[in-house]
Symmetry: C2
Subunit: 351 residues, 2 copies
Amino acid sequence: MSATIKDVAKLAGVAVSTVSYALNNSTKISEETKRKVLRAAEELCFRPSGAARNLKKRKSETIGLFLNDLGGPFYSQVIEGVQEVVASNGYNLIVCSTYGGENSSAHRFLREQFVDGAIIMGTAISDSLILQVASESFPIVVLDRALRGDYVHNVLITNEQGAYDAVSHLIKLGRSKIEFLSGPTVAFDNSLRFDGYKRALMEHNLPIPNKISMFGRFVEAGGYQAVKLMIASKQLPDAIFAANDEMAIGAIRALHESGIRVPEDVAIVGFDNINISPIIRPALTTISHSKYEMGAIATQLVFNARKHENEIILPTQLVVRQSCGYKDGLQETDYDAIVASILHVGGRKQN
Amino acid sequence: MSATIKDVAKLAGVAVSTVSYALNNSTKISEETKRKVLRAAEELCFRPSGAARNLKKRKSETIGLFLNDLGGPFYSQVIEGVQEVVASNGYNLIVCSTYGGENSSAHRFLREQFVDGAIIMGTAISDSLILQVASESFPIVVLDRALRGDYVHNVLITNEQGAYDAVSHLIKLGRSKIEFLSGPTVAFDNSLRFDGYKRALMEHNLPIPNKISMFGRFVEAGGYQAVKLMIASKQLPDAIFAANDEMAIGAIRALHESGIRVPEDVAIVGFDNINISPIIRPALTTISHSKYEMGAIATQLVFNARKHENEIILPTQLVVRQSCGYKDGLQETDYDAIVASILHVGGRKQN
DNA sequence: TTGAAAGCGCTAACAT
DNA sequence: ATGTTAGCGCTTTCAA
């Protein structure tokens, strides 16, 4: 058993309250007593119990960031933004996975009031749970859906407009049979991107397919499988707008495997501009947005928690690379910038 | 104020212990009472206080993983290995950054007994702190240094042999003036890699430079700057063995900027086989090791904590790519595998 | 400036 | 099967 504050008090010959004050740098303790306490604490290897302190103070000074996949290519910049703002507020950050359903760490922490606020990205946490647990003492910011409720805030991106820009780009390059490579239809991001896709087709007087023929999860294998199926059905479009970059990369893999050229035969645009998108071949044309800002702003919102819901929408931007056949090749200078950005030289990452 | 177990007891008309038992699925509670309690809890939106439970039970069923850089390219596979084993033991995992010195979240969690065990990777946590806090009730596994002490275990890799293999490879390809691009000299990994480098030179009767001329931190910019300096001094070697891949990539960037060809003029080998190493151009020849295993084994060690120190050493393997001029080009099939591995299709990642 | 004591919300031993 | 109660280790009010 490790020493408690009581043991320290006994050894130092003072009351427990005195030890508490001394250890927390209260001004009302004399220098001499403080030294005495510190020496006793040192001698006993005293380590305060966070659980006891949290219980008493009814807060943990910790913010939780809950993600689907801790190691995923998408999140690292978001995490940095969050980390920086949390630290500058003198708080702790814990990152944990939402993987595992009801028994995931994320669910447990959310339910058990372990953290004083949460940033959630990942559909594994249900809307109803979020609305249930959000409160004045527990603000929540959600990054991947529009969820309205007291003490629930949103940071979103211009999904619809981004998708519109992506598809318009394809149309400008002369493509006319453009398929949407869809993520899960329940995903909020996905449906807005689908809306933007339809609007672009409509405004350019192109027929809107009455059903999406390609589905998948938001992962590389999802894009791969969907496109494999499409190839088997021999109904290839001349362009694909993928709901995210991972799927786009899977699509490229599937096309390559069948000897179909990208962009010559089929052009591809993705969404998100993840770190390897500039590096794959052909480098992926995509819709970029600032993930660092997203994390930083979300965290600000947690600290400035107000009851009334707040919705912040960040802009997106088309990044033209090779997968639509616009540029001829990857320049060395581009290449260096890309590698640097992945390894995030220096402090804050660029988008 | 949110409801406590007392409120639930009152509403349900039972004792607090009954509520506690009911909520924890004790068998000694009748079905009817249980239902009554559950209904009352629901009605009050009761959420148990983790802090109170942890205080009482004197454990949190949580393992902490402490890393230098949450978003870094190196860690994602380690995290997966840890995550999987932690979850399979029914525990929670929190990942947090060691960034910020004494006031970092990692330091606070380590000191305040928030977690029941820790896996540490990153020099920001001092040896003395680790030795101080490690105990039977708080085992620690360290991944990047050999640290001996009770309840402190190590998972390491064959750093020296890996470096030896890397440098021997360069020598076999006919290179003779081989520089070591060093990371921080205080880093344990770095010094072992330096040892392996020297042994390879010695065994092949090549002169060992009496000082390292290139230093840097373990980041891309460190490699870049060191090589820039070396170029300025006009003392170029015909090969560079970098202490890690990030530095190797920085070295390549610096060489490219000066029009020096890799591998024709200068061959490069790295260490770690991070996810973008196969993708940069030229694809990086490097020393690979299994990061997933590292995380998984480390976590096993936390759960099987025994007093006597345990040291596990994982093997490394040379992966030949383009940066030493061995292979002529990147094959399409390689390329697909690479992209898949970065996006980690499916569950467990390959090395 | 220091001490005594109440209690944060829960678990679990013990009593019924 | 359910109730009573004593703490877990700390902070903080109040008294001295």
